[in-house]
């Protein structure tokens, strides 16, 4: 079982990878059957409804590839983000070598640009309740499942392609 301090260390390191746009290293944190889910309504079964993001590992790879290897408009200029990780809790996992972890995150995001550019230059704040299922693989903790429920998950959003 992870201690709260160990879980927090893991989550802060993950947040740093995203803030530093080290997306390929972030992707490598996921297990081969890993899922990344950003629901609109967390009470619904994601297979039979529509989510903001519901990535299996293949889709997650496409997401990272799009951000890092293609001429993507909506992340050019790229987002700057600062993530605060707090309220970390650990719970028993679903099987041997597994661990459930919860935290809250506050994500500040901004894209810089020239004067008067709509959509750029103003920081916005996203608050999220996050749940993780971590699995011990080859002596390392990996993400088997990550759920990010935005405070305003069911409200209209501006682009979220920076990976919330």
């Amino acid at each position: 079982m992870l201690s709260v301090a160990e879980a927090e260390q893991f989550l802060v390191a993950e947040a740093r990878l995203l803030d530093e746009r080290r997306f390929e290293e972030w992707e490598a944190l996921f297990t081969e059957d890993g899922v990344y889910w950003v629901p609109m309504d967390p009470a619904r079964d994601p297979t039979d409804s529509v989510s903001i993001i519901y990535d299996d590992r293949k889709r997650l790879h496409e997401r990272v590839y799009r951000l890092t290897k293609t001429p993507v408009l909506d992340q050019n200029p790229p987002s700057r983000t600062i993530r605060l990780v707090a309220n970390v809790e650990v719970e028993p996992g679903d099987g041997p070598g597994e661990q459930r972890v919860r935290c809250n995150q506050l994500i500040a995001e901004m894209r810089p640009g020239g004067p008067g550019q709509a959509g750029l230059n103003s920081p916005r704040w996203l608050a999220a309740r996050c749940e993780y299922r971590l699995r011990r693989v080859d002596g390392r903790w990996r993400i088997a499942w990550k759920k990010v429920v935005l405070l305003d998950s069911d409200q209209a959003q501006y682009n979220l392609s920076f990976i919330p």
């Binding site: 799009r66 408009l73 909506d74 709509a118």
Partner: protein
């Protein structure tokens, strides 16, 4: 005609020049134009408010904005759907604050005036303060002037005058019918909640873009690279596909972008699904002949003036909030009576491209913000929409153009001009 910063009439802002169709930038930036659009277009013509499958049971309701005005759309115990102004007849408070839910009555929280979900006034707190013979039938929630359904698509018109919904939809109706035809029972079921995104730009930027076949190879190049990564199709194949089909500018401001239909599984989604799922093929062939299947399998983005798009995965609703702020709602739907796996793959396919974190829609949103920013520069205040004007042809009242041409945009602005310059 010379047009200064503020036009004398709204009609001057759309110049229907046969060689250089153009629109004035102020139609996207002038708050006065926006207020007039709300008065004349959104509060004076047929506006889409939802699909009947969102309100399956008596008591189900949703709240919407029609232009600037709050309304409740509710299914009463008589099975009928009612569109009611969300305003207590007493002192004006809304009687419902939820986005959607289930209730047989609406209660104003200010002084407990209570209304049935067909609008009828049931009673109020301390009713003895009114005469015993008070005619309650005079004080119900006010219904929208008109509410009508086309095959479950619900439209409200706050004006009692003007064309019927049937007349309004007539030029686009057959395409809407083909759109339903991918379900062998020709029925859909909306899946809630919708994707919702908001951008700092004018609503017409979304209206102009949904049937724009010109931008795809540039704005969505990163999407094409993702398809290539997954070995679904090469960038060259997608770019070739984006040259096929046509655009159609229809009367009454409607329009569409169309990719050719095919019965070959390699060339259309419908044929591919029929090939993959024999039970689907059987049901489709039982309902439709080959000529109909050719039309049904054509992939179309269908625009219904002024706020509705029908896409292959979703119903798209444009919600103008301010001259430079727009919400867009994407209601994904299930095709009824098709294998579950078909719908699930449609949901995953939708998520992949659309929504605030999809691999395509955010690129469009980004471009809308770039246009809105650029329009502040008024050295030459005109936007050009004359692409393909020299090569379009008119067949049965439809203006048909090359898939990258701006024929549907011109149809849209001709209707905009007509409605905005009415006396």
């Amino acid at each position: 005609m010379a047009v200064t910063q503020r036009a004398r009439t709204y009609g001057d802002l759309v110049v229907d020049d046969p060689r250089e169709f153009r629109v004035h930038g102020s139609i996207y930036t002038d708050p006065q134009v926006f207020q007039e659009e709300m008065d004349r277009i959104f509060e004076g013509t047929w506006v889409y408010v939802g699909h009947e499958s969102e309100l399956p049971a008596p008591g189900d309701y949703k709240t919407v904005l029609v232009g600037r005005q709050p309304l409740i759309v509710a299914r009463h115990e008589d099975g009928r759907i009612y569109a009611l102004y969300n305003r207590c007849r007493h002192r004006g408070a809304v009687v419902c604050r939820e986005e959607r839910g289930h209730s047989n009555f609406f209660r104003c929280r200010y002084h407990n005036w209570v209304y049935a979900n067909n609008g009828a006034l049931i009673g109020m707190a301390q009713a003895s303060g009114y005469p015993e013979d008070l005619d309650r039938s005079r004080y119900g929630l006010v219904p929208a002037a008109r509410l009508a359904s086309y095959r479950g698509l619900l439209f409200v018109n706050l004006s009692p005058t003007g064309p019927s919904l049937e007349e309004h939809l007539e030029p686009v109706r057959k395409y809407v019918d083909y759109w339903f035809g991918r379900s062998p029972s020709e029925r859909i079921q909306v899946i809630l909640p919708p994707h919702r995104y908001e951008y700092p730009g004018n609503w017409k930027l979304q209206a102009e873009n949904g049937f724009d076949g010109y931008h795809g190879n540039y704005v969505h190049l990163s999407w094409q690279r993702v398809l290539q990564l997954s070995k679904e199709s090469t960038v060259e194949e997608v770019q070739q596909y984006r040259q096929e089909g046509c655009v159609r500018g229809l009367r009454n401001g409607h329009g569409l972008l169309e990719r050719p239909g095919s019965l070959n599984p390699a060339s259309s989604w419908t044929a591919r699904m029929m090939h993959r799922y024999p039970e689907y093929a059987e049901a489709m062939r039982k309902r439709f002949d080959d000529a109909q299947l050719m039309e049904i399998s054509a992939r179309r983005n269908i625009f219904v003036f002024p706020n509705l798009y029908l896409f292959d995965t979703h119903i798209r609703v444009i919600v103008p909030k301010a001259v430079d702020r727009t919400e867009v709602q994407l209601y994904v739907y299930a095709l009824e009576d098709v294998p579950e796996a078909i719908n699930r793959s449609r949901y995953r396919g939708h998520e992949r491209f659309y929504g605030p974190a999809g691999f395509g829609a955010p690129d469009d949103i980004e471009v809308f913000t770039e246009v809105q920013t650029g329009l502040a520069a008024t050295g030459d205040p005109w936007n050009l929409l004359h692409r393909g004007q020299h090569r379009e042809r008119v067949v049965d009242g439809e203006v048909i153009g090359h898939t990258t041409d701006e024929a549907p945009q011109r149809s849209f602005y001709r209707e905009w001009k007509r409605v905005m310059s009415q006396a």
